[in-house]
């Protein structure tokens, strides 16, 4: 039976988890077709399959990152990281098989150009969808000034884009104290003015200013009102096209945006 035996490595749903999984898969020294990676619990257990759980390990992750960077280049490495942030269940398997394909020596140039390979295409799709989600968060995130001058934002992204999002805002607002909360993962990014930012995970849902759980400054209310007024007057009545507006700005984002929250 040993020949046909499949091994499934269960890893944590994070970049570190997936990369450690890839390291362990190589360490098994078995044909790659027999090894599978998954981040979530299997609903239907497979026959003739051994399930093993992989604990995230920072040293192994470092090693994998170094290999990916030198062999694939910065651009492809970033694409793999974005794919690892996607919310899809099959991401670990797709990334693992893409890496195997890339390191197999059969592949020249950028791995992500080999679109006829299904795993590569799947990885690219995942990375694109996570990239789009990241861009939408850059667009639609709204900070509100809390009493004390801290800027505070709550987001609910489909994919785990908070770390990359915080990189963007830390570059943009280096001298601000700000916090961004991911409601879906109960994850917080905190940026003290002029210092490095860090991530924290919490137990509770982040408080919302709209529900009166936080107090805003008087100035904040004023600027929110100004922006609402601006959004209203800037639109041209003769060209009204709510469907186009909804295509560009889907409803799921609007709960968190000042110009759409009714006062």
């Amino acid at each position: 039976m040993a020949d046909n035996e499949n091994i499934v490595l269960r890893c944590e749903d994070s970049l570190e988890g997936i990369f450690t999984g890839i390291y362990e898969a190589y360490a098994l020294r078995m044909p790659h077709e027999c090894i599978h990676l998954q981040t979530a619990e299997e609903e239907n257990m497979r026959l003739f399959t051994v399930y093993r759980t992989v604990k995230p390990d920072s040293i192994k992750t470092e090693k994998v990152i170094r290999t990916l960077r030198t062999r694939f280049g910065e651009k492809d490495y970033m694409a793999l990281c974005l794919a690892a942030a996607a919310s899809s269940m099959e991401k670990a398997e797709a990334i693992y098989k893409t890496v195997v394909w890339g390191l197999s020596g059969r592949c020249r140039g950028s791995i992500l150009e080999h679109l006829t390979n299904d795993d590569v295409r799947r990885t690219l799709e995942l990375s694109r969808s996570a990239g789009n989600e990241l861009h939408r968060m850059k667009q639609f995130l709204r900070f509100a000034e809390l009493e004390g001058g801290v800027l505070y934002a709550v987001i609910a992204p489909k994919d785990n884009v908070l770390p990359m999002l915080t990189v963007h805002f830390a570059d943009r607002l280096p001298m601000e104290n700000f916090a961004i909360c991911d409601e879906n993962r109960k994850l917080y990014a905190i940026h003290p003015a002029g210092k490095d930012w860090f991530l924290m995970s919490g137990q509770h849902m982040p408080p919302r200013a709209e529900k009166g759980e936080l107090t805003l400054t008087a100035e904040e209310e004023h600027y929110q009102e100004l922006f609402r007024h601006f959004c209203h007057t800037i639109s041209i009545e003769d060209r009204k096209n709510l469907k186009l507006q909804q295509n560009m700005l889907p409803l799921r984002f609007r709960n968190y945006m000042v110009e759409f929250v009714e006062k």
Binding site: C107, A153, K243
Partner: protein, 450 residues
């Protein structure tokens, strides 16, 4: 409508008046500049641009688009802010604009400032005020985000030069496609005074590029390039004329973008056309499609239109239209044709064309992989072969292809003037069919009234 109130206006009132007055300006993009934050000042720029919201007309809100003032000494017939209109007038102080920009930017409402203005007193005074605003914004507020500013035609070249060093993008409005149209509708403006600053900015950008090549820390002059806009449908120009104007602007003035703005009738004036069907949005849409063909697909204006066919097809987009009239160049073999030819196939965009060229180096492509790559086969299948085979048995005939391309007119319907759609007649077409009879109806049936 409100009338001028005595005393100082609040910022809210001013913002209302001056954003309302600025809304017919179309260029609200924040693209073209990639600038990292400097670790101290607020702001950075992303090359792709970021839209922060979308207004009810579906247009993006990327920049704080406002006029410095809507007072104007000119009397352009198409403009809401013309001298002879009796509307509330307001003027921002430079400090108010800076404060609004900084506070909005901090909250991630906007990507930067778009500053335009009516002409207050004279062009020089107006340009001075705009320069002052930008100077305060850059030097006192230390704003490092995106700034788009209008150059006022007729202002001192020195002022335009100085402003250019503070802005990421500058634009001069061409207003109308031809000099004749401009003479009829904007008696105070002249083609020459519009083109002069445009040329000046173009030369400034070229010189600055040479400077930057030599001295890395030289100040940037209009790093995001120059754009312009023209109003479509206020004057009787044909699409062919407009495309030619746009093409020469791209070639001779090296503009980054030309924007087209469907004419909205805001003033009652006998010189302006009546628009019973609303603004010419479909025409604007076709012009933008053709504009993309010029900039990214290697088309030329005279390939798309000619003296004899001066307007775009309403049913087909410009690329489909070109393809069905040049069937001798099709079908294109996906696995062998050059990139330039693949780019000309309807249903294949710049991205999918790049992916095809990259992917076919390692494997032969078939229709399944094309679909996965992102090609719109619904449109492309009439024009391509994979390894010598077409997807289905199709005829390479103009009539046949046009019929099939227009059969599914889903995306074309949104522009239909009356919103009417067609469907097959059915026996159960009575719309009241699903309504259940009420108790009163039952009574009527029982008593034989119905």
């Amino acid at each position: 409508m409100e009338y001028l109130t005595t005393g100082e206006m609040t910022v809210m009132e001013k913002l209302g008046i001056l954003s309302d007055a600025a809304k017919y300006d179309v260029a609200c993009t924040s693209s073209g500049v990639d600038r990292k934050g400097n670790g101290r000042d607020m702001g950075n720029c992303v090359a792709a641009g970021i839209c922060h919201s979308f207004s009810a007309d579906g247009r993006c809100i990327s920049l704080l688009k406002i006029l410095l003032t809507n007072e104007c000494i000119y009397d352009c017939k198409y403009c809401l802010n013309r001298k002879s209109n009796d509307i509330p007038r307001a003027t921002f102080t430079p400090e108010e604009v800076c404060e609004l920009t900084m506070q909005f930017y901090r909250r991630n409402y906007i990507e930067g400032l778009f500053l335009s203005s009516g002409i207050l007193h004279n062009p020089n005074y107006t340009m001075e005020q705009m320069y002052k605003t930008l100077w305060i914004l850059r030097n006192r507020c230390r704003f490092n985000g995106y700034v788009h500013v209008k150059a006022i035609p007729g202002a001192d070249p020195r002022l335009i030069q100085l402003t250019g060093y503070l802005a990421d993008r500058m634009s001069v409005n061409l207003e109308l496609p031809t000099a004749e149209g401009l003479k009829n509708l904007a008696p105070n403006k002249h083609r020459k005074t519009i083109l002069a600053p445009m040329r000046q900015i173009q030369n400034g950008i070229t010189e600055n590029k040479n400077e930057l090549a030599l001295y890395r820390s030289a100040p940037h002059f209009v790093g995001g390039g120059q754009s312009t806009q023209m109003i479509i449908g206020a004057t009787p120009e044909s699409d062919y004329q407009i495309m030619n104007v746009a093409e020469s602007l791209y070639q001779k003035f090296s503009l980054k973008r030309v924007f087209y703005s469907a004419f909205v009738r805001v003033n009652e004036d006998k010189a302006l056309p009546a628009l019973p069907g609303g603004p010419p949005l479909l025409r604007e849409h076709r012009l933008y499609q053709a504009d993309w063909l010029l900039r990214f697909y290697g088309f030329k204006a005279e390939e798309l239109l000619s003296e004899k066919r001066p307007f775009f097809n309403v049913m087909l987009d410009p690329k489909e239209d070109w393809a069905v009239r040049h069937l001798e160049q099709f079908p294109v073999e996906i696995n062998r044709a050059p990139y330039e030819m693949i780019l000309r196939v309807p249903g294949i965009g710049v991205k999918s064309a790049m992916r095809i060229v990259n992917a076919r180096r390692t494997a032969s492509l078939d229709f399944t992989s094309l679909k996965k790559i992102g090609v719109v086969l619904k449109r492309a299948l009439y024009f391509i072969t994979c390894n010598g085979k077409m997807m289905y048995r199709t005829k390479l005939e103009e009539d046949y292809i046009v019929r099939n391309l227009t059969a599914d007119a889903g995306d074309r319907q949104q522009f239909a003037a009356d919103g009417m759609t067609y469907r097959q007649l059915s026996l159960f077409d009575d719309t009241a069919f699903g309504v259940l009879p009420t108790t009163a109806d039952n009574g009527k049936v029982a008593s034989g009234q119905l």
